[in-house]
Subunit: 408 residues, 2 copies
């Protein structure tokens, strides 16, 4: 029951010159399910990634970081669902490397030119033989037109695919941006999200792309939360194939800000689509904290509200039990918060003024906004000039059902 | 559906000489419900309290802190349910003071000798006239034998009352300890819990009692969590009437440690009873983190596990999806955690060894423990010698139902 999650028509998903995708079925968890996805990049592409800061980094994340750090051009990515290959020790690391090696061998590449990704259950051994067996099958159907299907083949508890695709013009050059993401639970990315792959046909020099990956993730995937659980496998990858006309070779290129804005818009769309399809979500909430003394404290308040099970269940019920929001602001960890300066709006309704109930607030106004599928919660701290926004969803019976039944 | 919550028989709830309790019905939320409780203390009693660190402190909490700081002996407490008098601004403060003044007037006491407490919905005006009207009725039935009924009259979403009562002997003196607590949701006390009142007939000098209140709360109420939401109204009160034979006048009194241990055991029982009756709880979990580099980091890990919605729903489902516990350990915020040293036990089953799945771990063993109503999660970090324990419950459909319907 995703919230206003738009899926573009297949014909509106633009291929990105220089990126081919193959899809296979390894039968990791469910026989017959498409659970293997391989991206192959043309020579001349640059790739950058940001990964989970969970200390229990999954084996494939560790291998990705190592391969990216090695500095050789990345030429392929392999992604499996159904098993996260996390908490699997030395054997897990071997198997993550084997995934990469298997693709490398088939394509006559160096092992370090391939990045492996896994998503699914933690603490279970990766069935590497099944994956190795399915790689040739996936490589057989490599095509530039597979983005739409790949959005499905990377899904786990997602109910809908997340796709962003756009053609734009920057300084007279046509630029294509297409990306996909997956994730619905265990979502509170810290430096990145579950899995997201964003490609452009612009050329972006490696050092610039490295910086872009971080700054774009920070303003998109690092601003969403479903349940506060930072996954072991979060990965966000940007690929720039350089097959289009736009080439960014220097940080001072005046066209870079426009490209960065386009990449950020794409990443934010892919990130908020994860929230819209958050496990059990029936509401999409934007938590905007304004006039904070620092970005960090604005985020503290926004996440306290976004993670409160009481706030989330009130939204699920469309019950304007809005004292719960004040309560969350109060325990967010700002020791010197002067609550008598705090204002709270729900959509266009001014609920709390100077830390207390706004005398003009009427419950029926709150009720009206609570019934909407998309709700803006706006909090004014009146301590400074920093603002931050976090995106989240409500907490429903289905969240419990999904996570109580996920493995069975 | 509380988890193994024992209610003592009425005749086993000992009165505490010097404490009388009156109960009334103000009709704050539900007509006819007993929602008003008044404690009256004999002269010579000492009282200390610790309160929520939520910045949106409820009006009665602010008044309690002021009255306790004034230094006059506290002679009475008044508690209402159905309305938290929080987020209510200057008017709320006036009404909290009015609650105290009304009792003070009836008993010919100074207003500062009375402590007011409220619990219920936040952000709604307190119906002070209803309370003032019910005070005489409550004072009419003042009795030392009302503890059992008071445990009911302070309940909100609680399904069962929480009572601890014990007679013990310390250095030849009989000492009685009786206490009650309430709370089921919005429970992650920070310095104290929702509402808890613990009385003893020992005499404890005021400066000693002040310290005791903090240290006892820290090792009991500050170690429980239901949903991570630190309430605006948390209050923990210790009353020492001095009507029994034991008198503690000095911090060096050799009998103090034994009395402190008895108070701590009482507080821990009252605190864990709140978890056993956590909203929707079907399981009681003890999260024990060992060999940490500091108590603070042990608590970080314990709370990350205790708050993870994914861990809590897995326990609800009795599904040994235990990678979710490793995941929570990994994002708990210990930047230099060496996961290859982490061990995890579920009850007597060794699940993860050196950061990965224990080769000898069998899913059926995990399954067997997950089916129990009380589960010990033991985590060994192997970084030092500090240990901490946190108590929590699972996350069920009923949590969502209760909190989606609370006001309706």
């Amino acid at each position: 029951m995703a919230v206003n999650l738009q899926i573009p028509a297949r014909e509106n998903v633009h291929s990105v010159k220089g990126v081919r995708i193959g899809i296979g079925s390894a039968g990791i968890k469910t026989p017959g399910k498409k659970d293997l996805t391989i991206f192959v990049l043309e020579p001349g592409s640059t790739v950058a990634g940001v990964f989970t800061r969970n200390r229990f980094k999954a084996a494939p994340v560790q291998v990705c970081e190592k391969h990216l750090a090695a500095g050789q051009p990345i030429r392929a990515l392999i992604v499996n669902t159904g098993n996260a290959n996390a908490g699997t020790g030395a054997q897990g690391l071997d198997r993550a490397r084997n995934m990469a090696a298997c693709v490398a061998q088939a394509l006559s590449l160096d092992e370090q030119s391939v990045l492996p990704f896994s998503t699914g259950v933690i603490l279970e051994p990766l069935p590497i033989e099944k994956i190795e067996k399915a790689v040739p099958q996936a490589l057989e159907n490599l095509s530039e037109s597979n983005w739409f299907d790949a959005a499905y083949s990377i899904m786990t508890t997602d109910t809908l695919p997340k796709i962003h695709s756009r053609k734009t013009e920057i300084a007279g050059h046509s630029v294509t941006l297409t990306g996909i993401s997956k994730g619905a639970g265990m979502i509170r990315p810290n430096m990145a999200t579950m899995l997201s792959y964003l490609a452009t046909d612009a050329f972006i020099a490696q050092p610039i792309l490295n910086k872009l990956a971080k700054s774009v993730a920070d303003r998109s995937f690092n601003r969403i939360t479903v349940d506060g659980d930072t996954s072991t496998n979060d990965s966000f990858i940007i690929m720039a194939t350089g097959q289009g006309g736009l080439r960014i070779e220097s940080e001072d290129d005046p066209r870079l800000p426009e490209l960065e804005a386009a990449l950020e818009a794409a990443a934010l769309d892919l990130a908020t689509k994860i929230v819209r399809d958050g496990e059990g979500a029936t509401k999409f909430m934007t938590i905007q904290v304004e006039k904070a003394a620092s970005a960090q404290e604005a985020l503290k308040v926004a996440y306290a509200v976004a993670h409160s099970p009481l706030v989330k269940t009130a939204f699920f019920a469309s019950d304007p039990n809005l004292g719960r929001i004040l309560c969350a602001i109060g325990y967010a960890g700002i020791e010197d918060l002067d609550v008598s300066k705090v204002n709270l709006w729900l959509g266009d309704v001014w609920v709390a003024r100077n830390g207390g109930r706004n005398p003009e607030y009427k419950e029926e106004d709150g009720q009206r906004v609570m019934k909407e599928a998309e709700i803006l919660v706006r909090i004014e701290l009146n301590r400074g000039n920093d603002s931050e926004t976090v995106y989240t969803c409500d907490f429903s019976h289905d969240y419990v059902s999904i996570n109580a039944d996920y493995r069975s």
